[in-house]
């Protein structure tokens, strides 16, 4: 990769999901292998293991093998992150296991993904699990979804089989909100339609998977309209040279902030103008997500961590009462009446779960209105009341200002992931 290309190169984060044995590890191994992201020592170790087990071919799935417990039990326990690059892009894969008990891992992987890749086995067609994966992708608002119909080699590269799966999936996807769906017939094992178009499927007129990953446009997926800047840290050097310096550091969560912009600061509601935008002490003209910058303002207002900088006529809701979808992530069930710590942008408060509206069956999308708790890996809609106002947007408008986590006060564990539906 020549250094000159670097500035043109951007980053795509994608999450993968598939049921056990659909070929997810093989597909990832194939992408890594074909983009020459695999090192000889890794390959040797995989070849050795394959040989020792008596496999006929090198099992690329072994490349993504992780912890000892996983090797012993032959399963994937946790989200693993993997990296590869082409001259166009750097890719970060959140490789999430597909078993039913690991919904929480998929939610975790999808929360930061620009794109989700869901695999199905062409012979089996759409399974209950595939539907669940697609649902979670839409719930987490991953902007792009790619369905890979894998193992096409085992169905003689038959177009009819592919069209059947595609039709079934598209029908299901219309029930969800999936902004951008692509369906690609592949063989992870043979490499068909992975890096280059397959000659075995002349009837397919789309692009290869890698070509799609390299070209899908993601910059505009972020909210560039509503300025949101959660104040993370106040920089005050208190040195002779920078005696009066006061900078508000944080990561832009929405909108484009420009020099000279009039801004409003929440909670106070006071307005001022942006006099300086800095990246590492160096001035820049504008800031947009996900840049980490420092803002300096014309007036000396009392601003601290947890405050939110926005535009005077476009502010987030300052809400104590939230309606949210939560995914529960711990054994101890969520029950109405409980109190948790809520972390939302840079603000932390306590939150009281006032009620559980319903529990959602992630396979059928059926709502159970009589549920009285949410167990591990279950998803439902709750009403929360926070001890302080939270400056939030609907999750569908902005993933950064609409998402929050719940933490158990006793154990300090992260127990839930929430997405704001409505706030008051």
């Amino acid at each position: 990769m020549p250094a000159t290309n670097l500035l043109a190169m951007d980053m795509l984060r994608f999450a993968t999901a598939g049921s056990v044995d659909d070929g997810k590890s093989t597909l990832i191994g194939r992408l890594l292998y074909d983009t020459k992201s695999i090192f000889e020592d890794q390959l040797e170790s995989v070849e050795r293991t394959s040989r020792d087990r008596g496999d006929d071919y090198t099992d690329l799935a072994l490349l993504t093998d992780g912890l000892r417990a996983e090797r012993e039990q032959g399963i994937t326990i946790d989200v693993a992150y993997r990296y590869f690059a082409t001259p166009r892009r750097k890719f970060v894969i959140a490789d999430t296991p597909g078993h039913i008990q690991y919904t929480r891992n998929m939610v975790t992987g999808a929360s930061t993904a620009d794109l989700a890749l869901v695999l199905v086995d062409a012979r089996k067609g759409l399974l209950e699990q595939s539907r669940r994966h697609a649902f979670l992708v839409s719930l987490l608002r991953v902007p792009h979804l790619v369905l890979c119909v894998n193992k096409m080699d085992l169905v003689d590269y038959d177009r009819a089989v592919f069209e059947q799966v595609r039709a079934e999936f598209s029908a299901f996807a219309t029930k969800l909100e999936v902004p951008d769906l692509s369906v690609i017939p592949v063989s992870a094992l043979q490499g068909d339609n992975i890096v280059t178009r397959s000659e075995n499927m002349p009837w397919y007129d789309g692009t290869s998977l890698l070509h799609h990953l390299e070209n899908v446009h993601v910059a505009s997926d972020r909210n560039l309209v509503d300025v949101r800047f959660p104040v993370q840290y106040v920089i005050r050097p208190q040195s002779k040279v920078h005696r009066d310096y006061r900078g508000y550091a944080g990561q832009v969560a929405g909108g484009v902030i420009k020099l000279g912009d009039e801004v409003m600061v929440l909670a106070s509601g006071l307005t001022t103008t942006v006099t300086c935008i800095e990246v590492a002490g160096r001035p820049v003209k504008e800031a947009f997500p996900p840049m980490s910058v420092t803002l300096r303002l014309a007036d000396d207002l009392d601003i601290s961590r947890g405050d939110m900088i926005c535009r005077p006529h476009n502010s987030p809701m300052a809400a104590q009462d939230l309606e949210a979808t939560v995914c529960w992530m711990t054994d101890q069930p969520l029950k109405p009446g409980s109190i948790y710590i809520i972390k939302h942008t840079t603000r932390t408060a306590r939150a009281h779960v006032r009620s559980l509206q319903y529990r959602l069956d992630v396979n059928t999308l059926h709502r159970d209105d009589h549920a009285d708790e949410l167990g591990l890996n279950e998803i439902g809609r709750i009403s929360l009341r926070a001890t302080q106002p939270l400056f939030c947007d609907e999750y569908r408008r902005n993933r950064s200002t609409g998402g929050f986590i719940l933490v158990d006060e006793g154990t300090n564990r992260t127990v839930g992931a929430g997405m704001v539906i409505e706030a008051r």
Binding site: M1, A3, L6, L7, A8, D10, M11, F39, E40, D41, Q42, S45, G66, L67, R68, A69, I77, D78, A80, Y81, R82, Y83, A85, R89, K90, V92, N105, V107, T108, S111, A219, S220, L224, Y233, I235, P237, S239, V241, H242, A249, Q251, V256, A280, G281, P290, M291, S292, M329, K343, H344, T345, T346, R399, G403, I405, V407, N412, R413, T414, A417
Partner: protein, 306 residues
Amino acid sequence: MNTAFVDYRLSQLDALEAESIHIFREVAAECRRPALLFSGGKDSIVMLRLAEKAFAPARIPFPVMHIDTGHNFPEALQFRDRRVDELGVKLIVASVQASIDQGRSVEERGRRASRNRLQTRTLLDAVEKHGFEALFGGARRDEEKARAKERVFSFRDEFGQWDPKNQRPELWSLYNTRVHHGESIRVFPVSNWTELDVWHYIAAEQLEIPSIYFAHKRAVFERDGMLLADSEYANRGDDEPVFEETVRYRTVGDMSCTGAVASAASTLDEIIAEVAGSRITERGATRADDRASEAAMEDRKREGYF
């Protein structure tokens, strides 16, 4: 860096930098007593630069800690002291030799003895002594398979142990930094960087690095297919003849177990070209400690290693 912000796209290095800076600031805002682990190696040099950027123009608001095995490359030590001076940060040195002298650790024996594993005890003692609640480390997920599954905020119990099956889910960029008294967190701001990203960043930022990363002539000997420096710490046997080779280092660790690679790369551009074309992971090529077993790193992490 000087990215032109065409259509509001960030280059991948800018995106990585933004993420790392966010992590540094989050810890500084939420954790009591953070510290940055600094070895003088390239990853910790990048870390120090990111920390500098995160809080500029203020000073880095936490100390830097070096776990000193006593088996360092002298070049790395000199470099460490100079950088720390320039930045005006406080340096804490925790010495493995002192742990051995106090009977807290026992020196390994035999030819392959190294102090790598002993660092854990010294580290945990230092964490306790200084009451550090969060330690920044420069580990990357592309380095090794146990690390591929480790969170950015890696929670450790009061014994410093990592429990891979019991990690906190990490959603969006919301990090749960809460710990009970006595527990701590290891934070890895460059988790998502690859070896090549680190080199590109060093080049883009024109960061100075210790001379041993560039090709130089050195007296080495071969062990387990690696080139080790002939030093007083190497326990070289008579069957391991010394020869001179033009080499460079891909990682800077303990002299006793960090291997050099034969290389003529003497500029950053040449190093980048070499790394981009390299077909061997940096740990596979140069770290005897990871070669010991398939799960070597996982085991050390469970015991409280970085």
